[in-house]
Amino acid sequence: MREDMMKAIARREEVVSGVRQVLIEGLGVRRAPDEIDPDAPLFGTGLGLDSVDAVELVVGLEAKFGVHFAQGYMHRRLLRTVGTLADAVIAVLDAPRGPDAA
């Protein structure tokens, strides 16, 4: 069980790292990766993204992780932090035909 946990953590770190890269390279966030806290807000405050960035963010994540988010899936609730984005990406990676991704 501990091993499973460590695998899950390692995998999550990879996804978080990928999300950070999308923010830095795709959205021009001027921060080093380790400065982007996993639970820092992305929009309105925090990293200061705006509504125009939201589209770019979703597109960037799709390209980075090779996933597709169904229309309307990426509700504001999921776009709040790197952590919530990582959750969303992992959910789609793990269950591409699950109800959320439909």
Binding site: M1, R2, M5, A8, I9, R12, E13, R31, A32, D34, E35, I36, D37, P38, D39, A40, P41, G44, T45, G46, L47, H75, R76, R77, R80, T81, G83, T84, A86, D87
Partner: protein, 342 residues
């Protein structure tokens, strides 16, 4: 059974006499800019009427205050929560360029509205412009300022009002508030909401001996410019942080200071505990969400880590262009808390 005021914050609108805020104003041309830039850790790229949520740190980069900095043309208004430090004295000790610092505590009072329909109640009093006010922005009102901010995850407005108008405004809010089922929300309720919605509390986790790196507040700090605490923060960057603030959902009440263990090893400490949720400083190797095996001493209370914020706030599903409190039952709100042991 929710505490008084909680339902209003989560579902309607609540009012609070925000005496826990300190307000001050810095004016005097470039000096105001230089002073506020020195005191504040964040990037002050502010348009007139814009608000920055940031920190005032001490020389060791520990938080002194959780601040809103609002730009009002060429002067700055700071609305802050501190952990006891006299912020006006602190600002005066650090004044630059001949800036003038006005303590607004004698002349102004802060009244806050929080809730998914806070915009509607406020709009009924001050006019429809408030609906178009974006998050982290402000406008002048009644000789003071209205900031759209809030630390509850719902629509929130902090009104900094001159004392001779504050009573009248509050009276109008309460009178109009009857049809909104307005309740008073005490500080304890606001603090519970801060905990559930991942808003930094300078009096709780902010009073531990840690920096923005552990607190996940690096987004409030600038790189490559000078401000109080920057040098220390920069020096500390030479090493990786050892712990990180993590959100836990314990299955029974826990308390600040309790030890957190994972598979028998001590991995952290509770920093801030509330009803059904706690923040803990956890060793970075384990500071991740969705770990099920935490145990909090002394009762070995099981806890799992989660991704904050906990609440699927009603405000996310309210559109001021279309909705209103009177017809709130028609809005298909999802459950406030999902998938958690609550």
């Amino acid at each position: 059974m929710q505490p008084d005021g909680m339902r209003a914050v989560r579902e309607g609108v609540a009012i609070t006499r925000a005496d826990h805020f300190t307000a001050l104003r810095l004016s005097g041309g470039d000096g105001a800019w230089e002073t506020v830039s020195w005191l504040t850790s964040g990037e002050l790229f502010l348009r007139d009427g814009q608000v920055l949520h940031s920190l005032w740190l001490d020389e060791r980069a520990r938080p002194l205050a959780d601040v809103y900095v609002l730009r009002d043309d060429e002067s700055f208004v700071v609305v802050a929560e501190s952990r006891g430090k006299d912020l006006v004295a602190h600002a005066r000790q650090n004044v630059r360029g001949g800036a003038v610092i006005d303590a607004l505590g004698e002349t102004h009072r802060v009244v806050s509205l929080n809730g998914p329909f806070a915009w509607e109640l406020l709009g009924d009093i001050v006019g429809p412009d408030v609906v178009s006010l974006p998050y982290m922005a402000s406008f002048r009102i009644e000789g003071g300022w209205a900031l759209r901010a809030g630390k509850t995850g719902e629509y929130g407005y902090d009104l900094v009002l001159p004392v001779d108008r504050a009573d009248a405004v509050e009276a109008r809010l309460r009178e109009r508030g009857v049809r909104f089922d307005l309740e008073d929300a005490p500080l304890a309720v606001l603090e519970q909401c801060m905990l559930e919605n991942w808003f930094f509390n300078v009096r709780r986790e902010g009073s531990l001996d840690v920096t923005p790196r552990e607190l996940q507040l690096q987004w409030r700090t600038s790189r490559g410019r000078e401000y109080l605490g920057a040098a220390s923060l920069e020096a500390q960057r030479k090493e990786d942080p050892r712990q990180r603030l993590t959100t836990l959902v314990p299955s029974a009440p826990v308390h600040a200071g309790d030890e957190v263990r994972l598979w028998g090893e001590a991995v952290g400490t509770i920093a801030n505990a509330g009803d059904g949720v706690a923040l803990a400083l956890v060793d970075v190797a384990w500071a991740h969400p969705w770990i099920d095996g935490f145990a909090v001493s002394p009762g070995r209370t099981p806890a799992r880590s989660v991704t904050p914020p906990l609440a699927n706030n009603h405000s996310l599903h309210v559109n001021p262009q279309q909705h209103s409190y009177a017809t709130r039952d028609e809005i298909p709100f999802p459950p406030l808390f999902t998938g958690l042991a609550r």
